[in-house]
Structures are given as C-alpha cells and as structure tokens.
C-alpha cells in the first residue's frame, strides 16, 4: 500500500533515488562515527514513510524519541532527540505518513542511526536540532515562535 503511493509518482521516485544516491556517496552508511558531533557538511535529506513512532527509545537505541521510517533503501532509525515529540508546536506524525528528513547518518554502538535536524511533514518543517546538533527544546521553540524566528 505504501509502495503503491511511491510508484504513482515517477518524479518523486527520481528525486528520492537521487537523494539516496547522494546520501550513500557522501556518507558511507557503515562509517564508524561514534562521537556526538554533528557535522553539518554531511547533511542529507531523505524521504520515506513513517512505520512507527517511538516516544521512548527501544533497547540499544540512542536517547530520546525515534521514528522508524521506510525508505526506498530500507528501514531507517531516525533519532528525534528528547524534545522532538514534546511540547507545544512539536512534530506530530503517525504511522503511514509521508515525511522528509534532513540530518546525518551516524553509527552509534554499531548501529546506524539517522540524526534528524529537521522534519518536513504536512508541508511544515519542524526544527529538532540546530546546526551543531544541539536539540531544540520546547522552550526554544516557543521563543522562536514568539520572535517569528525560523529555527
């Protein structure tokens, strides 16, 4: 069912494949990148369908909430951080929903995780981390909204 939605849009597939190819070329998925630094130069954008929403991490996952996202290259563990799904104006997604993720691929404790900086869902872009990978707290999100600043 989800795949049929992909197949119905040839330009979308082309875009996804291009994006994934770029991601694979720029960030070897098996790269050992165990520290916590967020290298914005390695940032890529991926699209996929939300498979499940984990408000708490499963054993072995890095801290915070996660999305399991089905992409054309397989299943992706997307780390949203502590505040990704918390507070006013937080990201809200449901399984089956099509989203776009921007972030970097890291290998943590031998497992690949996509550290998400922003999520585009329902036409809205949600900033979860800043350019250094520091998480955007609900308070920071609220402050930015008050000031009309885009994070």
């Amino acid at each position: 069912m989800r795949h049929s939605r992909f197949i119905s849009s040839t330009p979308l597939i082309a875009g996804l494949l291009t994006g994934l190819l770029l991601a694979i070329l720029v960030v070897p998925l098996n790269a050992e990148d165990s520290d916590s630094r967020y290298d914005v130069s390695k940032e890529v954008t991926l699209s996929g369908t939300v498979s499940s929403v984990l408000r708490k991490p499963a054993p072995g996952m890095i801290w915070g909430s996660h999305l399991i996202v089905e992409t054309v290259s397989g299943r992706l563990d997307a780390s949203l951080g502590r505040f990704g799904l918390e507070g006013k104006g937080a990201l809200s997604v449901t399984p089956g929903q099509q989203i776009e993720l921007t972030g970097i691929m890291k290998t943590v404790r031998g497992k690949e995780v996509f550290v998400v900086r922003s999520v585009k869902a329902n036409g809205i872009t949600y900033a979860l981390r800043n350019e250094h990978g520091i998480e955007v707290s609900p308070q920071a999100r609220e402050r930015a909204a008050e000031k009309g600043v885009t994070l």
Binding site: S34, R37, W63, G64, E86, G87, E142, R143
Partner: protein, 707 residues
Amino acid sequence: MNRNFTSILALILVGLAFGFLTGCSSSSSMPPPPPTIAITATSGSGQKANVGDAFTNMLVVTVTSNGTAASGVTVTFTPAPGPAGQSCTPSATTATTASDGTASITCTANSTPGAYSVTAAATGATATASFTEGNTAPRVFVFYVNGLENSASEGPVYYGVAGAVGFDLGGNVLGGEQDYNDGQNGFTAPVDTITATGSSMTVNPTTGTGTLVLDVSASNPNVGVNGIEKFAVQFINASHALITQFDGSATSSGSLDLQTATSAVDGNFAFTLSGIDIAGFPFAYGGVFSNTSGSIHGTYDENDAGKALVGNTLTATDTGVGADVYGRGSISGFTDPNNGDEAISLVYYIVGPEVLRIIDVDADDTMAGSAYGQGSATSFDSTVLSTDVFGILDNTEDELFAAAGQLVAANTAVGTFSATFTGEGDDDELGNVVATGTPGGVAGNYSFSNTVLGYGSMTGITGLGSIHKLGLYATDPTLNLLDPNNTKAANLGAALVLELDDFAQGTGIVVPQGTIASDGSDLNHSYGFGAQAFVDNGSFPSGNPGWEFDFVGQGTFASLVFTTGGPPTPVDISDPYASFVTGTPDEYTAVPIAGTAAAPDAAGRYTFPSATPFAVGPVGGADGPTKDFTVVVYEAGPGLLFSIDEDESSEWLGTFQEMSAGPLKAMHVKRGPLSQEPIETETLTSRQFGGCRQTGHHVFGRKITSR
C-alpha cells in the same frame, strides 16, 4: 495723556502708602519665622551585630536649629523591621539632645538576621535621619544547586538556586535569602526570604546525612512544594556538604559551605557558569577577571548551543553587598556576545574571600556557577598542570556527556606557557561510551596566555570522544575547589574547564593528583558521595519527560569493597522522573549501595567488574529494583575521587570526598539521630507505591520517625 499719567501716579502713590502702612503694622505684630530644625545621622549607621547582641557603636544624631546645635530637642528613634522581621530593640525610644545637639541610643539586634533601618525624628524637623543596620547569624552556610526543575505545566527545564542560610549556635535556622532562576518557567525571583519558621536542618552526626528545609513560601510560593524546599544533605565535615533538592519539585546537585567572609571580593578570579540562554538553548561561560573596588575587567569564553566565541572582553561592575548580611552582591555589565550582547544580571553569594557562588537572575535566561580566586599569583604558566585528574559534566539541558580521567603534562617549565599532555579518560556521550580509560589514550596541547592571568585552553585533544577543545582557567593553587574551607586536604587548585566544541557546553575542574596506592588500600576511609545523573527516560510522565536524578550518601571503602553506612542506610536519591521505578517518581531514602572495585591502574582508575558492580538498591523497599551501574572512579588522592557512570542508558559525574568524623560531630547543627522501629513488609509495600510520596521517606526494612 496728562490725565492718564496723573491717574497712574496717584495709584502708585496710594499703593506705596498702603504698603508702607501695612509693612509697619506687620513688623510690630507677627512672630519671627520658625527656626529650621534639621536632624542628621552622625554615626552608628552601617553596623552589623550577631542576633541578640547590642551594636558596638551608639546610634548618634545631631540636631541643629538654623544650623546651630540645638539642645533640649526630643528625638524619637523607631526601628523599621525588614521583611523577615529583622530589627533591633532600642535602649530608649526617645532621647533629648545635649548642648552639642547630639542624642544617642544603643540598639540590640533581635533574633532575626537581615538588614533594616532605624529612623530618628526630631521635634520640629520635617525630615528624619536614617540608620541602616544589619543583624547577622552566628553561622551562615552558602548553598547552590543546578539541575532540572519538574514543572507540570512547562515541562522539565534547567534551573539554579543560590543562597545563604543563617543558623544560631544550636543549629536552628534563623533565616536567609536565596535567588532562584528557572529562566523560562517563570518562577524566577530576584531574592526570596527564607524564614526561620518552617525552616530547619537536621543531620545525623555519625553519617553526616540529613535534611535541610527552607521555607520561602511568604516570598515565592511557586518554588519547591508551595514554597517549601527540601534538600538532602551529606556533610563531609563541619563546614562542607553535598546537597540535592529532594522534594519532587526539581532535582539537582550542588554544595553547602560555611561562609567565612561577607564582603570584599577584590582580587583575581577564574569562573564558569552554565545554563540556558535567552533563546532557550543551553550555554556556558568560562573565563578570568580581576575585581578592583568593584571594577571588573577580564576575558571570557562562551559556548552557546555549540557556537563558541572565545576571548571576549569582560567589563562589568560589582556593586557589592551593601547592607546585605548574607554576603549577597550583584554584578552588572556582563553580556551574552552570542545573543547581541544581551545584558545578563548576576548575583553572587560570598563563601569566602576566594569563592563566590554566582547565579543569573534575569527572567529570560538562567545560569549558575562559581568563581574561584587566583590567589596572589602574578603569572600562571604551563606548570599549572602536572599530573592531574579531571571531571567534566554537561549542562543538564544539554546532557550529552560526562567525562573524567587523568592527564599528565609534559615539557612544562616555569615561564613556559605551552605544553603537551597525555593521559587516559572515560567519556559517555548520551549513553554512547566513546572512551574507556585506555592508558595513554588521551593526548593534547594546552597553553596559558602570557598577558591575561590564568586564561588558557586545551586544544587538539584526542581520545575523549567529541571533546577536542576546552577553555582552561587557572585557580589559586592553594584553594580547594570542592571544599573551599578545607585547605589541609591534598588536591588543591588547579583549574576550571569549559567545553568549547560545537557539540556540548560542559564545565568541570582539574585538580592535582597525589600518589596512588597500587592496591587501592589508600581508599580505606569513610566517604561522603554524590552525583548528578542523566538518563534516557523517554517520555514519562506523558508529555513531561525528564532525564535527571541525583543522589548523596555516605559509605566506606575497605579493601576495595564499597558499602554504604547505617543502618539505616544513609543514601538519598532524588528521582522525580521515575528513573528507578517505572511510573513512580519519588525521593528515596535509605537506599543501599554496594560494589567491589578492582585494583586501580597506574592512572588511579578503578572499575567495578560486572561480577561485583556498583549496585544501587533495592530502591523503594525490599521488593524494589536494584540497578547495576557501570561506574569508573578516578582517584585524585585518598581525599577525593571522581566517579563516572558510563552506561548506555545513563551517565553521571560525581565525587567521593573523604569524611572528617571528628569535626563533623562538633558541628553546630541539629542532631538527627534516627529513631528506628521495625515495620511490617505489607506496610513497606504500600509505602513504596505512594504512601511515602508526601513525606519523601522510603525505607528498607525500617521506618524513619525522625531525622
């Protein structure tokens, strides 16, 4: 024309005549103008006296009449009590001026510390004179904590508290004041009054474990539980304790130290501060400054959500403590260069001549930290570091890492400002353990400025995960950074550090390492310990996830076997985010901790092997869970150990500080011997799941009836 002129002239003449006549009349019948009576406070203002004591000097006024000393004038003296009721009792409410125009009284401080005024009014004078006086407590402890506030409405957020609390010699709380700042959550108060009523501290003189209760409900009912803050305390000696907030409203770690000075903070200092900026992101500062009669000049670094700005010029003003009796002063002119030089208002509490606890008191941002003196040093070079142990913990709002280790400086020499170091370290970054004590696995460079006193950095660091650059700020080599009043201990100095990489904003300290016994036998002592832990809690309670717990306690190492004291076990765990018992946030007392360490490596690094782990529990009663933590200890010396937890679901940084049993028993605090009586297991079970929530007392096998 002529007619008009004649008329005007006539009017003028009539007017002059009338004026002449009336003037003659008044000069003969009106009284002379009243003399101008003035009163001034001549001497006796600005005094401080212990509660119950008379002020040393008399309160003297001078009354003048038209500028000349006036005798026989009645002067009324009226104390104006401060908000906590602080005042003094005058020897007389009225006094009559002598021939020199002076009148005086003595005044005796009442039982409440604090500043207040005494006004003096003279009969016939329109203005009054005023004296500013202060009642002091015989013993004052300065405290500060920072951690995670547990707000049901706003969610968890960084907060800090700094303050001072005064005691009489019987251990009763006489009063105090504090500054609380949660920045974003709106409970910020410039100064809260701690009232004697409702406040207390009780301590078990054997273990040093106790409870400090501060009542600020009259001035800030939003903090703590309806304005009542409760802290678990673990005294190390009579003048120093580790503390953690212990009432469910927040959890945090900090220090409680005897105050030894209340004024004069001139000198050179190094400092670090950490908190949340105006935009809601974690940020931290570190630097050095000189304070000369309130004029502050220095150099500082800032790391704001990964954006580091180093070498900023610091120009600020220390407005001093004024009449405050708790050593509370303020600093203006500090700014946030990463946010448009936004002004940051700081308040400090003086612990002693070389230690200040500092808190940001703005409503939009919040920070807490300390400044430490640099002593009489006129130069800090590469010899500041030698063989040292360090501990660094990230800001709880960031909570990315905890790190500890040993470093050995090389190629140091007096007059040389750059050198290298090697060492080993442990680093847990969000549960990702990226360094595990590989001997020689850590390396880097460091340097101090040859123009800015004690301002330096550590760069090119390898072997410590994401940590590659630290700000390095030298402190007085004779100063104990963790226990400022205890300068007899080893491990004095050496520096503060600030994470300057783009991934986190941690702060920490570097202290010299002494000789380490290869078999760990030099740890055979009683220790007070504590730690600030970050955990991967996920979302609990729903919509209000939190990620911190804190604990303090007392235990003993004997041949590498660590056990907590008691019974009852002197360990308190503040767990408002249910890290130990799913779904049950609580404050646990009497939690056993045990483990057996392996002999240390050459760097003084101890591990607790998986067969004998650092086991915490059972928590919340005999049927509660026991959690094994992967704990590593670095020994600076027998008196000071750094502990780091490096698990996938938790990380902490803490210390073990050797206790001084003798001085502890001599301390002037309320004794809190524990009255114990066995209670039924069924009762324990019911208490475990809610029965003790209100009292905060969970016990293992025994019921605590008093502390």
